[in-house]
Assembly symmetry: C2
């Protein structure tokens, strides 16, 4: 569990929790437990995705994947335990910090974002789509679920912790939706033009696995245009919140311009 | 997910939730969500335990194991999704039925029972003990964690939902501890003397996998004596509660005398 948690990674999800709380002028530290829980969910999903029965990847974040070091059985259990512990961490947020009702809302929304309506559902759709020629709509369905829902929950968690009102939650959710698509389009672009050493995993694996990607469906230039469009929409929704979203704007630029 | 949930099984854990609530003279239906959540956790653990990288079992509850029907990848994800959904179900118990604080307590305790301090921890210890000659103490450590903690949580969940006081919780926890050991001793005995068709999985697999068992450490007669001792202690703790524990007593007899 610790090996994979400490293997690094971009920590985009925790950053989104903190930056969202910061937008409300509150102490980002209020989001520490939620940020840790979300990063555990993300890490468990990577451990299981990398298993031989799934993507069979040897390298992740520049290091041997969990099952390469500890074997398939322990990797499966480490993932299970991280997923389980993430809910314990959310349930244990001190009462004086966040009300019991808000903690329950965080737990239910995290489960939705991570389960069949979210990440796991997207992963299944992704596997079923392998080797097939997908439409842009089908590709977006996969990404919205596989990556977008947990990114969206990171923003929602920050908003719930900060006590956002309904209209702020709607604008922030729309922001997260477009940010998630931008994130995935850039991921696909990096698999074509990226540097293996900077990314820390194999590049070109989408082509090898005959996966549908944005560059394949839209051409590389078309994918870059779609990335600009999603980035623009993400920022437009941020502007609607009336909050001090400097950090969220910066994260959006980071996501769109990252090289790993 | 549905294939494995509906494959049958003894439903001992849900029965424990209901019987515990019944002991307080309350409507067992109050425990439906908790019972469902616990059975989902149990089912996910069986799906993952049966995977080729773990116990590599082809038959479970008299039917082909999940990965035999759906493949290793989908079986892994079905387990992940059941685990995730179990927390969503607990978090969604209506507010008029159980307070938010109690729901949070249920979530945290279920995570502890299922995670590294509980079921997953026991599974890792079990795997590490394979092929080794274990002491009785080491064997009990494995069983208390791998099976006992979730059985214990089933009783605790019923007690929390029914509003048990601290002394009742202590007696009921001690009851569950001994019931869990009785359950496992009978499991080991059945692997020696049981009927494959009634059990619905391979018998003799402990010997094949050179696992330490109670009959091996204590002889078959010694294991039967230990079973009687644990059953006796379980019932003695029930008697201490001052509750109407008729159903819990019956479940204890069922666990000790079951042939599958």
């Amino acid at each position: 569990m610790i090996y994979s948690l400490e293997a690094g990674g971009k920590r985009i999800r925790p950053l989104l929790v903190f930056a969202t709380i910061d937008a409300f002028g509150m102490d980002p530290k209020k989001g520490l437990s939620a940020a840790a829980a979300i990063e555990m969910i993300h890490t468990y999903s990577l451990i299981h995705d990398d298993l031989p029965s799934m993507d069979n990847d040897d390298l992740r974040r520049g290091k041997p994947t969990n099952h390469k070091v500890f074997g398939d059985a322990v990797a499966t259990l480490a993932g299970d335990a991280l997923l389980t512990y993430s809910f314990e961490v959310l349930g244990n947020i001190p009462n004086d910090s966040i009300t019991a009702e808000t903690r329950l809302k965080l737990i239910v929304e995290m489960a939705k974002a991570a389960g069949t309506e979210g990440m796991v559902g997207g992963q299944v759709a992704d596997m079923e789509g392998e080797g097939k020629s997908l439409t842009l709509q089908e590709l977006e369905y996969i990404h919205i679920h596989k990556t977008g829902k947990l990114l969206g929950f990171s923003v929602l968690a920050g908003a719930l912790i900060a006590g956002a009102n309904q209209s702020q939650i709607e604008s922030l959710s729309a922001f997260a939706h477009h940010l998630g698509l931008a994130f995935q389009i850039q991921d696909d672009i990096l698999d074509v033009v990226g540097n293996e050493q900077e990314i820390g995993k194999r590049v070109g694996s989408d082509t090898t696995n005959s996966k549908s990607t944005y560059p394949k469906l839209l051409s590389l230039d078309g994918a870059k245009a779609a990335l600009r469009e999603q980035t623009h929409r993400a920022k437009a929704n941020l502007a609607k919140t009336g909050l001090n979203t400097t950090l969220l704007m910066e994260i959006t630029d980071l996501v769109a311009s990252r090289n790993h």
